[in-house]
């Protein structure tokens, strides 16, 4: 607007004399400059360019970490410890599957506070398959129904009770890893498995009564397994010792864990659907580095708690532990 008023002023001195052309020229120049001014002002209003992004992180496959969990005294401690380890890994999606009748406040709250991309699933282990007090773990392997529930979700059969409800869209590049909540994981392990094409394997520390169990590798191929127990199992590997490419799992819709598999054969019950042992992909420097440990946390003694509770002085039940 400024411009037009200015040029109007200039032309207002309108008696007949030959200075009209230069005045018209001046008015036109004023219009031009007003136009330039408004262009420059518009440029100044333009927001600054966004900062440079890291080179397309979307290109990296997502790691789907499947963790079965059940209520016990150390559950929160274990899940806090694991969730903090997972928070160090980019492009990770945590599938936490409770062995319960419904989602518990402890797990729901922990997931919400974790800052992780997660999906919350729940399935109760059938009574017949549940361990009785004092029964050794191998009588009924734990977490079978829960791991299969996560496979169902990945295959689009739904059932999420919290977090990300939609399964990965068709064609998603990803890898699936079964990470129990009591093992110890080096953050390095996850980058070893990220680019798995079929099934990748590595050693596991402190398992099977050995310092470590793991594949034996020659010329970059798996030629055997270091294990003390039933070396002739189709896949003598621990649950923490392998990862499976998501496209392979989706291409074999019947591949899942068999709760009736004999002791030590649970991993084989899934893997025999998916890969030939000779095609396993060795990771962790040809299986010479231990990046995951089969640690076990002691069950805390609650003798004093029971004594105090009998005296009505037990630990405040309102405090979550």
């Amino acid at each position: 607007m400024q411009g037009f008023r200015d040029s109007a002023t200039v032309l207002s001195s309108g008696q007949p004399c030959d200075c009209l052309p230069p005045l018209r020229a001046a008015a036109e120049q004023l219009r031009q400059k007003d136009l330039r001014i408004s262009q420059l002002q518009a440029e100044l209003r333009r927001p600054p360019p966004a900062p440079a992004q890291p080179p397309e992180p979307e290109a990296r496959p997502t790691i789907y970490v499947v963790t079965p969990t059940y209520a016990r005294l150390v559950q929160k401690a274990e899940l806090v410890r694991l969730s903090q380890t997972l928070s160090l890994v980019p492009r990770l999606h945590w599938l936490l599957v409770e062995d319960a009748e419904g989602p518990t406040p402890l797990v729901s709250g922990l997931l919400a506070a974790s800052g992780l991309l997660f999906t919350h699933l729940v399935v109760l282990t059938p009574k017949a398959q549940r361990l009785r007090e004092g029964e050794p773990g191998w009588v009924h392997p734990r977490g079978v129904e829960q791991r299969n529930k996560a496979l169902d979700w990945l295959r689009g059969r739904g059932g999420a009770v919290g977090g990300e409800k939609d399964p990965p869209p068709p064609g998603t590049q990803g890898v699936v890893y079964f990470a129990d909540d009591d093992n110890t994981y080096s953050r390095e392990l996850f980058e070893e498995m990220r680019w798995t094409r079929g099934v990748s394997v590595w050693p596991v520390g402190l398992v099977g009564g050995l310092r470590f169990e793991g594949p034996q590798v020659q010329d970059g191929r798996v030629v055997g397994f270091h294990t003390a127990w039933e070396p002739n199992r189709p896949f003598p590997v621990d649950m923490a010792g392998f990862a499976v490419a998501l496209p392979l799992l989706l291409a074999k819709p019947n591949a899942q864990f068999d709760s009736t598999a004999p002791r030590g054969h649970l991993e084989s019950s899934l893997l025999s659907h998916l890969v030939d042992p000779k095609d396993l992909e060795p990771r962790a420097a040809n299986c010479t580095r231990v990046l995951v440990w089969h640690t076990r946390t002691e069950k805390p003694k609650m003798k004093q708690e029971e004594q105090l509770q009998r005296q009505g002085r037990g630990s405040d039940p309102a405090v979550e532990v």
Copy 2:
């Protein structure tokens, strides 16, 4: 320059007539607009403002985490798990103290790979104070010499074998926390302790035979302790349940742990030098939140390892576990 040429053109049509004033006015307006244009162009050349920084992070006190450790099957697993948790905490300095004759390759390598700011210390527990196989932990509390070694280093008595060798310069704002390598720590705990003025306290989960032990707080002050065992100890708190301001520790050069303290009195042997129980600073929502758990890791069984070793087929000793 543009401006002056324009105005010159306008004034060039110079025959005597009263349109000179408006032409002068036009020339002046053109000068004004040229000025404005050059101002706007200068603004556009100005570099964009730097992105906002977090409010001077140097102002935050440093957290000195003191961790005694000793060689055992689960040592590396425990230290990997702890170091990954500590890597989530800004402004943290890890003082890792080995109970050994000298620095071990396992610990030195782990520290170097941790990415943490650390100081590596070593002191061997005297034979007389060492636990014999099968002796319960309370006969000789573990880690006493190692924690005192860290206090010596903080007080400028040197002795570092790796990492940062210089102690904090006088006047450093900091807090000291004694974090054993087998407990479980929420990352939230460290922000609770960071601004400790004297000695801060909070509950510890799964300790002393209880769901949790911890201070009882009324009107923001510690008025007692929830514990089943010797509630009348001067400070019935677990090693994981308190932190001490660095300036306070430096002001009391004789404050340290007493290896001859009776069972359960080790924490008191340090704290009695430093603070009156009524002046303890309650943290973690007035001691109503559990952010650290006294977890214990099972000692792995090595029966199969021994069998295989007798057959010369033991786990490759070149593989670090």
